[in-house]
């Protein structure tokens, strides 16, 4: 069920401002791809164009092509809502729905879309998603308590469970661990390693150790200068990027010589 993403010549604009320029890359299925780069270089912006989430921001638009296997994501006849069902997303800050219980948060994708499902099926989905997210043991006795009552790390895993419950083919993660302590971060990294058996995972991170630990391939983004658009500098196997990158800029960033 995991799918490949092919991006070619993608430019992203906010109004007249070009935020990301000329990105061409392939994201392999059943693997973890990490985006690294300094703040404001367009990693998150680019990530959000993959499932058309950037359209939520007024004035944002895109030129270029994003293919999800054979589907052109930006084809005029494609509904962005359907794209987002295919490509799930986990955000920097855990955002469980405050009005819903833990149980309802997990099946929120179906509930909010008014999909009818019987109790047995819903129970199954909730248990499977929470087990996938390594959260089941911690919350199985309080599924009807509000999701907002969990700790930060548990909330983030709840959000991952919520994203996987709608069975997407790709999972985008925008700095999912940046607000978490090392233990919760470890739990989520384990989870990513487990999820990549079934999903295509793209993760934006500022933590280079994390990129090195969890990802199979790494893409390095950088700005040409202030006010300039962000660019994809280099992409390759994580081992290669972190040991002998082709570009000087990448090496400087990885070794902490600028930033």
């Amino acid at each position: 069920m995991a799918k490949r993403i092919d991006v070619s010549d993608l430019n992203v604009y906010y109004g007249d401002f070009k935020a990301v320029e000329d990105v061409t890359m392939t994201v392999e299925p059943r693997s973890v791809t990490a985006f690294i780069g300094s703040s404001g270089c367009g990693k998150s912006t680019f990530l959000r164009t993959l499932n058309r989430m950037h359209e939520v921001t007024p004035g944002a638009r895109v030129q270029g092509k994003v293919m999800l296997d054979n589907l052109d994501v930006y084809d005029p006849s494609v509904d962005p809502v359907a794209v987002r069902r295919e490509i799930g997303m986990v955000f920097q800050r855990a955002n469980p729905f405050p009005t819903m219980s833990i149980y309802d948060n997990v099946i929120a994708g179906a509930k909010l879309n008014n999909q009818r499902m019987n109790k047995r099926r819903a129970d199954e989905i909730v248990e499977r998603s929470l087990r996938d997210a390594n959260l089941w043991e911690e919350v199985k006795d309080r599924l009807n308590k509000p999701g907002a009552g969990l700790s930060g790390g548990q909330q983030q895993r709840l959000c991952i469970a919520r994203a996987t419950a709608v069975e997407p083919t790709v999972l985008l993660m925008d700095e999912p661990c940046s607000a978490l302590d090392p233990i919760s971060t470890l739990a989520i990294e384990d989870l990513i390693a487990k999820l990549k058996e079934n999903y295509t995972i793209v993760i934006v991170t500022h933590n280079m150790q994390q990129a090195a630990r969890v990802s199979d391939r790494t893409a390095f983004f950088n700005l040409a200068g202030t006010g300039q658009p962000g660019r994809l500098i280099e992409m390759g196997d994580t081992n290669k990027i972190f040991t002998k990158p082709d570009k000087k800029e990448t090496e400087n960033y990885i070794t902490g010589r600028f930033g």
Partner: protein, 369 residues
């Protein structure tokens, strides 16, 4: 007044002298000192006024307050330091302002309660003024309660959908000129004098039904003209408070925008929305002028049908009773009692609404346990 305490540094003994040398240590007035000083000021000032033979609580309170502020600042500046003196002075001023703000409120409630309670009983609440002539020691407010509930109920039924949907448009969909125009006109509408809203509906009714037609529906429409902008404003604020992350979380699950609004944004904001609506309702429930123009003031019968002629309401009832106070003999006295009792009824109705608002917001707001 040398009620200072010598506060020795209670930590490790070696710190004492060092702290003194750095200027971090100051002597402190004991906690009871401000209260004692205030009591002292009150006694001295009251005694002085009494000796002069001009005792009255209001000037005593004012002079004692000023004396307290001056003396606490002086004592604190001598015993403590300048910063603490400023703190105590400003704290005193803030409390004084608070008391000044509370005086009219408490006085109003107390006065209405004292005068209103004379006629406020089950009989008064359960009968109308039908067939009651001014000199009769009879009649009540039931028809006005019914009228107020019907008129404000209809006004709410009109205002809430219109106001809420306008707010949803402005916050969730609105872009550019149209959004700016709507926001601007809503702001302008907030400032419309209530009598103008009444005149607008009178003009409308004359165009539609000819002159001389007054009924509850006209009153409800006049009130909704006043209520809609308040509902829009408060709902707008509440919808903006819903974090954008929740909307994005919903979009990321493949939920369309309208379902996101209906199932995520509105439920998250429901407590604030309800409170805002009830506050808007409480704001219009006391409107008198537009109701005199639109719902008439002749009705003395129990009329729960908003399209069946004049409809009495509590504020208009009060106005009418106050006008009747000029009648000679017992009639004037009865009218005065009725006015106070009806005012008490109105305040109680509004208080019940506020209580409901508090309960609703407690009940609906998202819980964490």
């Amino acid at each position: 007044m040398t009620t200072t305490t010598e506060q020795t540094a209670t930590g490790s003994p070696g710190d004492g002298p060092n702290l003194k040398a750095t200027g971090l240590y100051t002597r402190t007035l004991p906690p009871y000192f401000p209260f004692a000083l205030l009591a002292g000021c009150l006694i001295v000032v009251a005694g002085a006024f009494h000796l002069l033979g001009a005792f009255h609580p209001v000037p005593v309170a004012v002079v004692a307050g000023i004396a307290y502020l001056a003396s606490i600042a002086a004592v604190s500046a001598t015993v403590e330091n300048g910063r603490r003196a400023a703190d105590r002075l400003v704290t005193g001023i803030v409390y004084c302002c608070f008391i000044v703000a509370m005086v009219p409120l408490v006085s109003l409630l107390a006065t209405v309660l004292v005068y209103g309670i004379k006629r406020f009983d089950l009989y008064f609440l359960s009968v109308s003024m039908n067939g009651v002539i001014p000199s009769m020691d009879a009649g009540g407010v039931y028809h006005a309660i019914v009228g107020t509930l019907v008129i404000t109920g209809v006004a709410t039924a009109i205002s809430v959908p219109v106001g809420l949907m306008t707010a949803v448009y402005v916050v969730e969909y609105g872009r550019g000129r149209l959004k700016q125009a709507i926001t601007f006109f809503v702001d302008v509408m907030t400032g419309i004098p209530s009598i103008v809203a009444g005149l607008f509906v009178v003009a409308l009714w004359i165009l539609l039904f000819g002159p001389g037609n007054t009924n509850g529906l006209a009153g409800a429409i006049a009130l909704s003209v006043l209520m809609i902008p308040v509902v829009v404003r408060s709902s707008e604020e509440m919808l903006r408070l819903v974090p954008n992350e929740l909307r994005e979380a919903s979009y990321a699950l493949g939920v369309p925008k309208w379902l996101t609004i209906v199932k995520v944004v509105l439920p998250t904001a429901v407590a604030g929305l309800t409170t805002g609506i009830i506050l808007a309702l409480a704001r219009v429930i006391g409107e008198t002028a537009p109701l005199i123009l639109t719902a008439g003031m002749a009705s003395t019968r129990i009329n729960a049908n908003p399209v069946d002629g004049d409809m009495m309401s509590l504020p208009v009832y009060i106005y009418k009773a106050v006008r009747d106070m000029g009648l000679s003999g017992q009639a004037g006295a009865y009218a005065e009692e009725r006015a106070w009792a009806a005012a008490l009824t109105l305040i109680l109705v509004v208080m019940l609404l506020f209580l409901a608002a508090r309960l609703v917001s407690r009940f609906f707001s998202p819980h964490t346990r």
